[in-house]
């Protein structure tokens, strides 16, 4: 009953260890290292990305996993957006205070 879960856990751990030093890694390579079909590797990677255990995206055309946070630059823009929103709100408050 539990063999599938156990297998998935072990494969996940090995996979995380394997991809650690790389920023771009081919899925056939992972499949060969893990001795797991490519489809299963892709499934594993999808679940890891959705669980936020790894940052990156899968290029299905080239069978590539590209690591790296796409949203690295987004944090700055989120902050600037918040600044802008607060400024707008503050400006409104000050305008309303004119008696």
């Amino acid at each position: 009953n539990y063999i599938e879960d156990l297998l998935r856990n072990i494969r996940t751990q090995v996979l995380l260890k394997l991809i650690k030093p790389y920023t771009r890694i081919r899925i056939p390579f992972i499949s060969k290292e893990l001795n797991v079909p490519e489809k299963d590797v892709e499934q594993l990677l999808v679940s890891l990305i959705l669980d936020n255990k790894i940052q990156g995206h899968i290029d299905q055309v080239n069978k590539l996993l590209e690591r790296g946070d796409r949203s690295k630059g987004m944090r700055k823009y989120t902050a600037i957006d918040k600044w802008n929103t607060q400024l707008k709100s503050l400006h409104q408050t000050i305008s309303n205070r004119v008696c």
Binding site: K72, G73, R75, K76, T78, A79, I80, K82, W83, T85, Q86, L87, S89, L90, T93, I94, R97
Partner: protein
Amino acid sequence: ASSAANSPDRIYCYDEAANARTQQEKAWTTDPHYFKKVKISALALLKMVVHSRSGGTIEVMGLMQGKTDGDTIIVMDAFALPVEGTETRVNAQADAYEYMVEYSTINKQVGRLENVVGWYHSHPGYGCWLSGIDVSTQMLNQQFQEPFLAVVIDPTRTVSAGKVEIGAFRTYPQGYKPSDEPVSEYQTIPLNKIEDFGVHCKQYYALDITYFKSALDSHLLDLLWNKYWVNTLSSSPILASRDYVAGQIFDLADKLEQAENQMASSRYGSYMSSSQRKKEPEESQLTKITRDSSKITAEQVHGLMSQVIKDILFNSKPV
């Protein structure tokens, strides 16, 4: 030659008799404001900044060795302690007592006669000041280990500002109220630290810091001139401190929100408050926020200017 009276490296000589005399007189017991100046050697400064930078976003601490000269504390050297996260632990240095004792003992054995004259720690990204835990640690140190100095370094702001963000402080004795409020340079404090800063800011004062270096230090730094410029030209402060700037902008937005909430609840804002009756009117929150935003932007503009100049110098075709 270095111990001659007119030698510029005379400061490096340790006078045992003078030190014993200072320890006997204990002039600091009668005047809580006795020590006014700090002289830090180039070597100690480099070691402290490199150690602080190596900690990343985690606070690190160490001790400083040196001597006193009248109202000046002279820091000759510094050494790191094997502890981390000093702001979140009440007595982080307890883990390093054995190390401290052994280090001091071995130092004396190799002919390093200076005593420990202070401790330094880092505040990554939130400025040079003493928190509540820092104040109580320093008060305890000043009770049992005088003369003692507290130095705070902000390695994150050092990178973004392009100069070493450092502050040297000494606490007042418990219950002492200074006759006149010390004028301190304005610095941006994040919203989550502002309360801790405000509650304890009157319990300590800042000392003036100057630096000195030996003839050998000057020679070595001259040799590193080219390396320094290669590093400066190949790095960019706006790229290196991206995360820190994003954090600063988030903090600014939070402060704007707070100011707006305050404004919405009061009709006249800060002008009709009791601060109006004080001799020096307090700055409104919005003025402080404006100053913070100008500072953040100025740093970004400086970084951009360096990028533009490098682009013009190295990428444009010569006329």
